[in-house]
């Protein structure tokens, strides 16, 4: 299974996203793109506000899981391209930490494909997040379904 680049050190910049979009303009069979962006929320928990999330991952296992999820998505949905990026390190509230980008000939399948990818990655990929509050205390984030 081919392992594509997934992890990016630091936040995913709007500029990185626009460059990814621009790269697809030479692919003239694509009719629709769907993009999901995860942005760090300044959640208030017990009167303390989240200032950033520090992400770590079990990278080898995560890349294998994501390669499997990619293959499954290509089998299930009629997609031309699929790109998945996740940040590592400290990502501040308002910054983007997760970028899922799916392209297809027609628009019909892209929404379900994106939803499948986002939910399966949240559930099955070993990525860990330390929510750092403004007062420098922290708690560990958990993806509860």
């Amino acid at each position: 299974m081919k392992k594509k680049t997934v992890f990016i050190e630091g936040a995913i910049s709007p500029n990185f996203i626009s460059e990814s979009i621009a790269k697809h303009q030479s692919k003239h069979t694509i009719g629709g793109h769907n993009i999901f962006l995860g942005q760090v929320r300044a959640d208030v928990i017990d009167a303390k506000t989240v200032a950033a999330i520090d992400f770590t991952a079990y990278e080898d296992m995560a890349l294998e899981q994501i390669a499997e999820i990619r293959e499954k998505a290509f089998e299930t949905y009629d997609l031309t391209c699929m790109h998945i990026y996740h940040s590592l390190g400290k990502i501040k509230a308002g910054e983007i930490c997760f970028f899922v980008f799916v392209s297809s000939k027609h628009s019909k399948e892209v929404y379900a494909a994106t939803e499948y990818l986002v939910n399966t990655i949240k559930k099955n990929v070993p990525i860990f997040g330390k929510e750092i509050f403004e007062d420098d205390t922290h708690q560990w984030k958990t993806n509860i379904k």
């Binding site: 995860g38 999330i53 992400f55 770590t56 991952a57 079990y58 080898d60 296992m61 294998e64 996740h86 930490c97 997760f98 986002v118 990655i121 949240k122 559930k123 099955n124 990929v125 070993p126 990525i127 860990f128 997040g129 330390k130 560990w140 984030k141 958990t142 993806n143």
Partner: protein, 78 residues
Amino acid sequence: MITIKYFGMLAEHTQCSEEQLEFKPLTLSELVQDLKVKYQLNPASFHVALNHKLVQDCEDITLQLQDEIALLPPFAGG
């Protein structure tokens, strides 16, 4: 040797992200039990991965030389 990796809140708790242990022909559940005792871990708080695959039932698995075991707290990607 076998390798044990700790992530997230578990690495914080053990104050260790990776350690090498001398190989012994234990089952995976025996190894995990040893680690629970060593670090006073709460078994409900983590999953076990063996060579990058989640393991549901550690009972029947006997460790092999150069296995990589990981203790994984709840995932938080996205």
